[in-house]
């Protein structure tokens, strides 16, 4: 019954396996080294540009001393407004998909389009908002930038909201209904509260995603050399400053671009890690 495998076959299988295992180790090492190199140059080049001026001065013209104050404030304003819009729309849309859509045709269409929108090229969102808000109102504005960022953030929030709401047991909904609460009240006071940590994770991930986006801001918020709280006018942002300053031939501005890149990437990483902490709390419970 038991036929012994021929030693040749065994040797060949083991050799194939050794090659495969070796390949996996090798490419993992290559990948980690490449990514570590990128992070290293980011930290090394960025840190040399970091100083107090970064936070106190505005973006300079070539040859003068400057910082990133206007870009930091502009980025924060636009991302904050974008998140306000995106959380409102995303949470409601996710709630509809999870609680009302059921297996309806329209629901599955929306779910599908949301997934497509999740990885749609962000530069096209910029073109869309340009035609929607910039051209008709004759001017680039921070509001247009915020709307473009919101369109990118909404699908992330919708998706996570739907996912975490679906994890809540049906009995939770039934218990709320049995107490005589209207369904919207059940959603608001029971389901949203029970899924809060998951929804916060989604919002943080969306925030991390939009805070590094450059392409949709190029044609909407444009840039602004000066400090301004006015979002009806062109607004500076860190990614656009990186884009503009990195492509100039001036070493000062390139250095500033590296510092801005370090700030942006650091913020994105910090927010992503925060999001993981929140989702870990949810998973372990």
């Amino acid at each position: 019954m038991a036929t012994r495998a021929s030693p040749v076959v065994v040797a060949r299988r083991q050799a194939t396996n050794a090659v495969f295992v070796g390949f996996c180790f090798l490419v993992t090492a290559i990948a980690l080294v490449a990514l570590a190199l990128i992070l290293w140059s980011l930290v090394a080049q960025g840190a040399s540009g970091l100083n107090l001026h970064i936070f106190t001065l505005d973006t300079p013209a070539a040859g003068s001393v400057g910082g990133l104050r206007n870009a930091i404030v502009g980025s924060l304003m636009m991302c904050a407004l974008a998140m306000l819009i995106a959380v409102a729309v995303g949470v409601l849309a996710g709630t509809w998909l999870s609680e009302y859509a059921g297996s309806s045709r329209y629901g599955s269409v929306i779910r599908f389009l949301n997934d497509v929108l999740l990885s749609a090229p962000s530069i096209l969102i910029g073109l869309f908002v340009y035609q929607l808000l910039v051209r008709p109102f004759h001017g680039f504005s921070g509001f247009a930038g915020a709307v473009a960022l919101a369109i990118i953030a909404v699908p992330v929030i919708t998706r996570t909201t739907e996912d975490v709401l679906k994890l809540q047991p049906t009995s939770l909904r039934e218990a709320g209904m049995a107490l005589g609460s209207p369904f919207w009240h059940v959603i608001r006071t029971i389901l949203w509260r029970a899924s809060a940590s998951g929804m916060i994770t989604g919002a943080l991930l969306a925030f991390a995603r939009i805070s590094g986006e450059t392409a949709p801001l190029l044609f909407t918020a444009l840039n602004n050399q000066f400090f301004s709280w006015n979002m009806t006018k062109p607004t500076a942002s860190l990614p656009v400053v990186i884009f503009n300053d990195a492509l100039t031939p001036y070493p000062d501005l390139n250095k500033l671009a590296w510092a801005a890149a370090l700030l942006t990437a650091g913020a994105v990483l910090a927010v992503t890690i925060l999001a993981r902490v929140f989702s870990k709390e949810r998973r372990s419970s």
Binding site: L92, T95, I151
Partner: protein, 328 residues
Amino acid sequence: MSDTARTVAGRAFTVADTHPGRRISPRGSAFDYAFQALCFAAATALLASLGGVLISLAIGGWPVLSKFGFGFLTGKTWDPVRDIYGAAGPIVDTIITSLLALMLSLPIAGGVAFFLTELCPSFLRRPIGTAVELLAGIPSIVYGMWGLFVFAPVFAAKIEIPLMGMAPPGSIWETLLSGIPNGSGILSASIILAIMILPFMAATLRELLNTVPPQVRESAYGLGATTAEVVMKVTLPYVRRGAVGAVMLGLGRALGETMAVTFIIGNSHDFPKGLFDSGATIASTIANEFNEASGLQASALIALGLVLFVLTFLVLALARLLLRNPEG
């Protein structure tokens, strides 16, 4: 229902008292419909934004599309001075860089995912897995900058110039390796794109492979299969639809990526001749020219956007259909 409703919260419901047996809606239920409508409107806003992108691109690009017709897709001349717009160069560059990036990145992403699911010692599994996931979130402009300032000079000196010197004259290699060896060009852009989509694809593949039930994997090992055989003949086939979906998702990212490419592709609209030649993808062309463009040129750029939209929509739609049902 009415009896229980009457006693809820100890409140007397006069309606129920005067009309025994009549259903009472709980307080605040009038808002139920409004809330449902609100949620519905938010979901529809998603549809509207995607539809809006398509419609606005179609309207904005119409002047050029109607003037050049199908020639817009096949024309090789992109000349804002004479107002002649043919998009073949950017379209071909977009597809070539994305496919090259995918070819470079896929074996490595696969290797990383297999390493993390099968080979990695358990104390390293979480840190490396987390690092890969975190790197997937780094803004693409960082990759672009690194490509421009760090990668391009090294690539020009260490790879491009020696390779061009080695290419036998008159052979296909000479054509393939032609171009200006300044570190930017089609191949450089593909490599940077590959590095950018690598963490994303590795993380997605790892997540997929983790969905394979442990019994499946363990029974394969129990039958005496080697690691290579378990991966290639059991776990990977188990999620093959999803794996193809993950690859398509990576391709979709590469097609629409702007910042990682714009810095390093060289920005020339001529039809590419060799791997070291400068090029321009659809996204990089839009990013570079749109703010200075007006009239027909702006319309041509929006029409390019429409081409990119259709291209990525098809790829992403296919990816999502495959990922929805990763097994089978």
